[in-house]
Amino acid sequence: MIRFILIQNRAGKTRLAKWYMNFDDDEKQKLIEEVHAVVTVRDAKHTNFVEFRNFKIIYRRYAGLYFCICVDISDNNLAYLEAIHNFVEVLNEYFHNVCELDLVFNFYKVYSVVDEMFLAGEIRETSQTKVLKQLLVYNSLE
């Protein structure tokens, strides 16, 4: 299962943090810093996977943003790697060419996108069409 999802920029600023375990705030901060340290030192020739404590981080870099998903060691690496890309494509469609600032100003909407696609640490919906249709309905409501 997914333990947490993080979006960070290269400087280490968190753009989204979604937790599926009950960490306390200090622990969250520690994890955020640790993930940043682990992920940013890797280059394009490296794998998209890093062992992390007794879990692993599956990550992908898009321009200046790192999208990281922390999952169990036994989980399927490529499936989560593509889950990240699927999520990014939805964001891109939803925000019309998404950029970092969209995530900053619309942070509360990003959480809705996440909840449509992932819930309880599992994959909830994978169809981009279905997710976007649902998000459109929300946007049309007051």
């Binding site: 333990r3 968190t14 943090a17 375990m21 009950n22 960490f23 306390d24 200090d26 622990e27 520690k30 994890l31 890797r42 490296h46 794998t47 998209n48 996977f49 890093v50 062992e51 992390f52 404590r53 007794n54 879990f55 399927n76 690496n77 490529l78 499936a79 790697l81 593509e82 890309h85 699927n86 939803y94 925000f95 019309h96 600032l101 969209d102 900053v104 100003f105 619309n106 942070f107 509360y108 959480y111 909840d115 819930l119 309880a120 640490g121 599992e122 994959i123 909830r124 919906e125 994978t126 169809s127 981009q128 069409t129 279905k130 649902q134 459109l136 929300y138 946007n139 409501l141 007051e142």
Partner: protein, 955 residues
């Protein structure tokens, strides 16, 4: 679609821009404080705020919180938003609550009421928001309140698909919080049939829930096998146009396929031949598709396709019954080993590691040895090289051991620091396991020390000494080789230790050669003396006094060293004491006495390598209950004790028998000079601190359990031996005149491999010998035990080895029963024993500091999470013995945590398949009253109770 930034809430957008424009941290804090003051006054003001304003301010507070600032108000306003009828207001309210409000907040009652209202709303969007909120918070209280409602929502015909998806995962979350809300009976089949749902999104969500339910109760949910297979079959045979929305880069439903393949890994291969045939067809189709030309050049296409392929291979390995598929899988992975994508090379190495363990594919894997060695040398990413090391280790057997060990040694010279220690251990284990010629083994270990001395842990050099002492044929060679190694200009301190020990024992074997005469040996060793740490010097002093016995001709030279000021006045009390005592010994004792006291070490009892145990230690964990501090991935000083902590119960008249993991008794706390002076009679003496055995297993191997005679089908009371096994993995479980049963077990996370050794002590055959394992009560749902069958005939004096593979699914209290039936001299014999498989065996020690310990401790404040016992000490309250027991129990002994140094504080994580339970333990002795108070807190009540029960009996 929102084009405007922060559309709808202009004030929020302005505020965010302001924060972004702040030039310094101070300016940001100032701006935030201003905003907080503003919001506070709005909330306190007389004017009632409308929903929009409330939403805006709550959202600002949330933003401030996410920046890392504390928020101590606004919770009530957020809760108010929940009862709004507008989606956007409700959404912000729920978001604020999921992010900011902890489970025990006083507003929880109100929140739960609002959720209740929304769940019964006719607006599916409100129902959905409520479900997502429950899934995000998932508190116990929510589980109790909604646990019975949500299954209804999930299977009701009136529920729309989007809500069903959330309901399935919401229920999953609540199950993880509180496992007794599992729906059963009529719900089972309705939930399983969600796999047939028309809506692929519903299936995608539901399969996660079903997977969790299956793990808890595989039998009840068996029906999902055929449904999963037929669903999978429909997907893999579909063309990418069939599934429209669920096709991802020309791959039909990759995530769902992956999940279905995982679901099937909870079961053995399907029994029904039709289902089995269909599944094999699916797996073949997936393997075939991997060979087809790609439908797109995009990496997304190949990733999605390979995600399914790797999962299919995992299932093939799991089934371990289709040689044809296993070999095909191996060939496919072989292709990936040379793929240009690093990800694929990495995953292929990882997956092949598992294939190497299957008898059907082990040979096929070995064909790729050369490629793997190349990977080890050329891969840029250290994690890929690490996988290559793992695979070499897994594919190693008698035929290729020398080659593989050679390659690993070569690589070690340039290996990354991060993986050296692990490599050193792996090389040491392989060399020992597959050595047909022990001179080769000695060479390998000495090479290890030469190449990577800093990474050679104590266990490794202890082990080479054990083996040299036990094998006469290699002693002369070892002495010669260490002597040569010592002549190198730069020589690692670990080499000095090994050389010191071995020459002290066997220097005489090479003393005939003028080039290594006693005096030369002594001078060579002593030339290193002043460069070494106190521990090593203490060891060398022992070597010197052993030389006094071996080589009387250099006695005077040695005495001169011993009485030099730098030794007898050394600031290290241990060195001072050794010098004095050894000097006196060499001056006073007659040569007979010397020869007895300084005699060669007796052989060590044969046992499994202690290095294996160290290799199994894992990285610091991350769990809700217990969280270790990061980077402290160091071995606890006495890890070796894990395998063989002596349980002093066996030597009740030796209560102070301290167990030391220290080979030569050179740790500074030990003041007895540790020469092998123990005449046999003194082994029961209270002062037997003389470390006959390095790794702490006590004297007689037959000290085991009850010796009751076997009759017809009696349950043998092996309570005492069971108790002993709580703290150790290996030993004798049972023994009588006919039969001896030994146990050797290895634990890793939630898995255990247990070897049972049945020894026939008689001069007659045992016929129809059938050991079987049964699980009392509902233990079979908690422990998955697989038993390999054994020969039905046990020859006189022979030993039969049986392997049990155990997986801990969830925490348990009962012990499995071992029933052994056989015919001895035409008389049917039957006995039943309880196997020492206790929950603490699945515990992993966790290091943490005082602060995190107490934070955790306070967080586990629910009364049911705590178990406490106050009891009278049964055994002497010796601190070393208590520590040894705690460590043997599988938990980390933490020092400097408790203000009272008398108290013992420990932490560990219990691994089960479904969950990891962090456990914190405090043991407070009261020596005056001869009492203990034991308190255990863990995230699961049953675990706390069981640990408390097991642990209190030990003291």
């Amino acid at each position: 679609m929102p084009a405007v930034r922060g559309d709808g809430m202009r004030g929020l957008a302005v505020f965010i821009s302001d924060i972004r424009n702040c030039k310094s941290k101070e300016a940001e804090i100032k701006r935030i404080n201003k905003e907080l003051a503003n919001i506070r006054s709005k909330f306190r003001g007389d004017k009632t705020l409308d929903g929009y304003q409330k939403k805006k301010y709550v959202c600002k507070l949330l933003f401030i919180f996410l920046l890392g600032h504390d928020i101590d108000f606004g919770h009530m306003e957020a809760v108010n938003l929940l009862s709004s009828n507008k989606y956007s207001e409700k959404q912000i309210g729920y978001l604020f609550i999921s992010v900011l409000i902890s489970a025990n907040n006083e507003l929880m009652k109100l929140i739960i009421q609002s959720i209740k209202n929304d769940l019964s709303s006719r607006n599916p969007i409100h129902v959905n928001l409520a479900l997502q909120c429950i899934a995000n918070i998932g508190s116990r209280e929510m589980a109790e309140t909604f646990g019975s409602e949500i299954p209804k929502l999930l299977v009701s015909g009136d529920t729309i698909d989007v809500v069903k998806q959330s309901a399935a995962l919401c229920l999953l979350r609540l199950l993880r919080t509180l496992s007794d809300i599992i729906p059963s009976g009529e719900w089972t089949s309705r939930i399983v049939h969600l796999l047939n749902d028309q809506h692929m999104g519903v299936v995608t969500s539901a399969v996660n829930l079903i997977d969790a339910l299956v793990k808890k109760n595989p039998d009840e949910y068996k029906g999902c096998i055929s449904l999963a297979v037929s669903r999978l079959s429909r997907i893999v045979t579909a063309s990418y146009t069939d599934l429209q929305d669920y096709t991802y880069y020309f791959v039909p439903a990759p995530w769902l396929s992956m999940k279905l393949l995982r679901l099937l890994q909870n079961y053995p291969p399907p029994e029904d031949p039709g289902v089995r045939g269909r599944l094999i067809e699916c797996l073949e189709t997936i393997l075939n598709k991997a060979q087809e030309p790609p439908k797109s050049k995009k990496v997304q296409h190949s990733n999605a396709k390979n995600a399914v392929l790797f999962e299919a291979i995992s299932l093939i390995i799991h089934m371990d019954s289709e040689p044809n598929l296993l070999v095909r899988a191996c060939n496919q992975l072989g292709q990936f080993l040379q793929h240009r994508e690093t990800n694929l090379r990495y995953l292929a190495l990882e997956s092949m590691c598992l294939l190497a363990t299957s008898e059907f594919s082990h040979e096929a894997v070995k064909k790729h040895q050369e490629t793997v060695v190349t990977a080890l040398k050329t891969e840029r990413d250290v994690s890929v090289r690490q996988r290559a090391v793992d695979l070499l280790y897994a594919m190693c057997d008698k035929t290729n051991a020398e080659e593989i060990v050679g390659e690993m040694l070569n690589y070690l010279e340039t290996a990354d620091y991060s993986i050296r220690e692990e490599m050193v251990m792996k090389v040491a284990i392989l060399a020992e396991k597959y050595a047909s010629d022990y001179t080769w083994y000695v060479d390998v270990i000495l090479n290890l020390i030469r190449i990577a001395g800093d990474y050679v842990s104590e266990e490794v050099w202890y082990r080479v000494i054990q083996i040299v002492i036990n094998r006469e044929d290699v002693q002369g060679y070892a002495a010669k080789t260490v002597f040569e190694s010592l002549q190198a200009p730069a020589c690692h301190e670990n080499m000095v230790k090994v050389a010191g020990y071995i020459l002290g024992e066997f220097g005489n074997l090479i003393a005939g050669d003028q080039r290594s005469s006693p005096f030369v040996q002594f001078n060579l060793l002593h030339s290193k003396y002043h460069l070494c740490a106190a521990q090593t010097r203490a060891l060398l002093l022992t070597t010197y006094v052993k030389f006094v016995n071996l080589f009387p001709e250099i006695r005077v030279d040695i005495q001169n060293i011993l009485k030099s000021n730098s030794n007898v006045r050394n600031s290290e009390v241990e060195l001072q004491q050794r010098s004095m005592e050894y000097l006196q010994l060499s001056q006073i004792a007659s040569s007979d006495v010397l020869a007895t006291v300084l005699e060669e070490m007796p052989p060590f009892p044969e046992r499994e390598s202690s290095i294996l145990a160290i290799l199994k230690k894992k990285k610091p964990g991350m769990s809700e209950g217990v969280t270790g501090p990061l980077k402290e991935n160091k071995h606890p000083a006495a890890v070796i004790n894990n395998t063989g902590v002596s349980y002093t119960k066996n030597s009740e008249n030796a209560p102070s028998l301290a167990v030391s993991a220290d080979l030569l008794g050179i740790s500074s706390s030990l003041h007895q000079p540790t020469i092998n002076s123990a005449p046999p009679a003194s082994s029961n003496n209270t002062s037997t601190n003389l470390l006959v055995d390095v790794f702490g297993e006590t004297t007689s191997p037959t000290a085991g359990g009850a010796k009751s005679a076997i009759g017809d089908g009696i349950i043998v009371k092996n309570e005492e031996s069971l108790k002993k096994f709580i703290c150790k993995h290996n030993g004798i479980l049972f023994e009588n005149d006919l039969l001896q049963i030994g146990i050797k077990s290895e634990y890793r996370q939630n898995l255990c491999q247990m070897g049972l050794f049945y020894g026939n002590k008689t001069n007659f055959q045992f016929l129809s010998f059938t050991p079987s394992i049964s699980s009392p009560n509902n233990l079979s749902t908690k422990l998955n035990i697989q038993v390999k069958p054994v020969d039905t005939v046990v020859e006189a004096g022979a030993q039969v080895h049986q392997i049990l593979n155990v997986e801990c699914i969830e925490d348990f209290t009962d012990l499995p029963l071992l029933t052994i039936q056989f015919i001895y001299c035409n008389v049917q014999q039957k006995l039943t024993l309880r196997l020492p498989l206790t929950i603490n065996k699945f515990s992993e020690p966790t290091v943490m500091n005082s602060e995190s310990f107490f934070t955790r401790w306070k967080n586990l404040n629910n009364p049911t999470q705590e178990a406490q016992k106050i009891f009278k000490a049964t055994y002497p309250m010796d601190s070393e013995a208590v520590k040894a027991k705690l460590i043997g129990f599988g938990i980390q002994l933490l020092t400097g945590i408790d203000p009272n140094p008398e108290n013992y504080v420990c932490a560990g994580i219990i691994h089960t398949r479904t969950l990891q339970v962090g456990c914190l333990i405090r043991l407070e002795p009261n020596t005056q009253a001869q009492m203990y108070r034991l308190t255990i807190r863990s995230s699961k009540d049953t675990v706390s109770k069981e640990l408390c029960k097991l642990l209190h009996e030990l003291f």
